[in-house]
């Protein structure tokens, strides 16, 4: 029995390490801000970094832990963003900032989760490439659908159309809430670094605790060997669904955080398109597929690098891509991994053998 308890503490220690790492970084950044050491440019990046880190945690649950390739995750973020911003816009005058934002975040998560569940029903019966293709299409469809949504409000209540602003027939004093391709403008700026950090922490704790549980093991068994999982009585579709839905809820949180940090929320390809979904996938892959901690670090580093390289002006993206390639090689090359383990991680950790969670 000593052995099994030893395993538990090793995994728990790893997870605790991730949580402490986040808390320390948060405390350090907060202190630096209070001391005025953070310039406004970097300061403006703090909320987006939290958004991307949460997206990395969310996608890692599907790609790294469930083992299914989803390349439409920006779609869930988009749903969360618009659902929460819609709510905040509706209640902007009638509610206090704190309860409004709290409910907006919950609505963002719930609506994204609902769509995750709905889309999961047909999609999760597919495997591998087919699943990736359908999630890709889903992300694009969501973005395009939102671009033709027109919702307005006047004294007679809410009006909805997919034809255009005119079709709503608003009274002169009516206001537009979602204005098609112009999106939602004037969402309250409720997102702060602290809220972002708390949401990131909640996402991390949910994913780590889920992974290290009976249902998490069932989810990982599907990744490791689907046929064997079925043969020991794991309801494969149900657990795929669970992981996919939880991941969508977390992406919805990220969307809510994102939306309340923007003056105007528009479903453009740059924000919610295919490239964003791929960027999230890059976080997960570079972080070491399956590692929550790695995904967060990759998200933070890869969001900061293009900004820190601004002084290189035109050469910025060139250097960025070289850094990506070097990271990939260093991350996956056995020799460099052994070197990192010996010289860097080895100093902090006594146990041998690579832990899976973290």
């Amino acid at each position: 029995m000593k052995n099994s308890r030893g395993t538990m503490t090793k995994v728990s220690r790893d997870n605790l390490g991730t949580i402490i790492m986040l808390a320390v970084v948060f405390a350090a950044v907060s202190a630096a801000r209070a001391a005025g050491l953070v310039n406004s440019h970097i300061d403006g990046l703090l909320v987006p970094i939290c958004v991307y880190a949460i997206m990395a945690v969310s996608l890692n649950l599907v790609v790294g832990i469930l083992g299914e390739l989803s390349i439409g995750h920006a779609g869930f973020m988009c749903i969360g963003a618009f659902a929460s911003a819609f709510f905040s816009k509706l209640t902007a005058e009638s509610m206090g900032a704190f309860p409004r934002f709290l409910i907006a975040i919950l609505i963002g998560g719930a609506v994204a989760g609902f769509f995750g569940f709905l889309i999961g029903i047909p999609v999760l019966r597919l495997n591998g490439d087919y699943l990736a293709i359908v999630t890709l299409a889903f992300g694009e469809i969501i973005k395009n659908l939102i671009n033709v949504f027109y919702v307005g409000r006047d004294s007679r209540g809410l009006h909805f159309s997919i034809e255009g602003q005119m079709a709503l027939g608003l009274e002169p004093d009516g206001e537009m809430i979602i204005n098609g391709a112009q999106g939602i403008t004037g969402t309250p700026f409720d997102s702060t670094f602290t809220v972002g950090f708390i949401l990131l922490m909640i996402s991390v704790i949910v994913v780590l605790n889920l992974t290290n549980s009976r249902e998490g093991r069932a989810i990982m068994s599907i990744r490791d060997n689907r046929i064997a999982a079925g043969s020991v009585g794991i309801p494969v579709t149900r657990y795929k669904m669970l992981a996919f839905t939880i991941s969508a809820v977390i992406a919805g949180f990220a969307g809510a955080l994102y939306a309340h940090n923007l003056a105007s929320l528009i479903a453009t390809p740059a924000r919610f398109g295919y490239n964003m979904s791929i960027l999230f996938l890059v976080f997960v892959v570079l972080g070491g597929i399956g590692s929550t901690r790695g995904a967060i670090i990759a998200a933070v580093v890869l969001t900061l690098i293009p900004e820190l390289l601004r002084f290189l002006s035109n050469y910025r993206m060139l250097i960025y891509s070289i850094i990506l390639i070097v990271m990939m090689i260093v991350n996956w090359n056995p020799t460099s991994r052994a070197w990192i383990r010996r010289h860097i991680t080895g100093r902090f950790r006594r146990g041998t053998g690579a832990g899976e969670e973290g």
Binding site: R214, E215, A218, I227, V232
Partner: protein, 252 residues
């Protein structure tokens, strides 16, 4: 009533009748063997029996309940567990976790208990650890509980697969060539393990095997398959002396 009753079972892949009019009756407590040349359809019978394939015709009854056409997970929960000819472990997981995944349907706590780390999480996880360690010690694997299962030597991987199948609490255990690739010592150990499991867990075992020493040593009854059809069945001794069997399988 027999524990397992298969009648008129057939499956066709394109123009090939891989299993044709197969029948089998396994009584509770039997140690039943299935032999036959390569490609005779033995593993296909297992795949039909565990829901991997859906039969074109036929009925499979477990303890009187019709389980034909159920999904693999449903059939496992009805009481059939199996191992695979080409080992299928959860390779990235520890030996202990492999068995704990096998225990999945026998222990429960809610998703909320897992995420919020409620007391029921710790209590149930401890019970699962104990139960899993008990099973591992039956197969002499208790010392490797923390090893990543892909790093186990081959013979132990096969044993772990049996332990994982046993963890699901089956009424019937299907072993698909459990001794394949084992040396004589490992095979001997395996025979002892199978006999032990059968006695101490009151288990009924149906196995596919090519190792005649193992088959003749522990199986009481045999069915011989050839080209998807039953060639002979009955007592191990009688079957192994059947001239048809010797001609088709053992060589003259």
């Amino acid at each position: 009533m027999a524990l397992l009753e298969i009648n008129e079972l057939s499956i066709q892949f394109g123009g090939l009748r891989a299993v044709d009019d197969f029948h089998l009756t396994v009584e509770k407590g039997d140690l039943y063997g299935m032999i036959g040349p390569n490609g005779a359809g033995k593993t296909t019978v297992f795949n039909l029996l565990t829901g991997e394939y859906k039969p074109n015709e036929g009925v499979i009854r477990l303890d009187g309940r019709d389980i034909t056409g159920l999904s693999p997970a449903e059939i496992n929960r009805a009481g059939v567990a199996r191992t695979f000819q080409n080992i299928r472990l959860f390779r990235q997981q520890s030996v202990l976790d492999n068995v704990k995944i096998g225990l999945h349907n026998r222990f429960r706590y809610s998703t909320a208990a897992a995420i919020l780390r409620l007391p029921s999480y710790f209590r149930t996880e401890r019970e699962m650890d104990e139960e899993a360690m008990k099973l591992l010690s039956v197969f002499g694997l208790e010392g490797e509980a923390d090893t990543i299962s892909a790093n186990l030597p081959y013979g132990k991987q096969r044993k772990l697969e049996i332990a994982r199948a046993m963890a699901t609490g089956p009424k019937l255990l299907l072993l698909d060539e459990p001794a394949a690739g084992m040396n004589p010592n490992e095979t001997q150990e395996l025979m002892e393990d199978i006999s032990y499991v059968r006695k101490n867990f009151d288990m009924t075992v149906l196995l596919i095997e090519h190792d005649m020493k193992l088959v003749a040593g522990i199986c009481e009854k045999l069915t011989v398959l050839n080209f998807g059809r039953i060639l002979a069945e009955g007592d191990t001794k009688t079957v192994l002396q059947d001239p048809e069997v010797i001609k088709a399988y053992l060589g003259e």
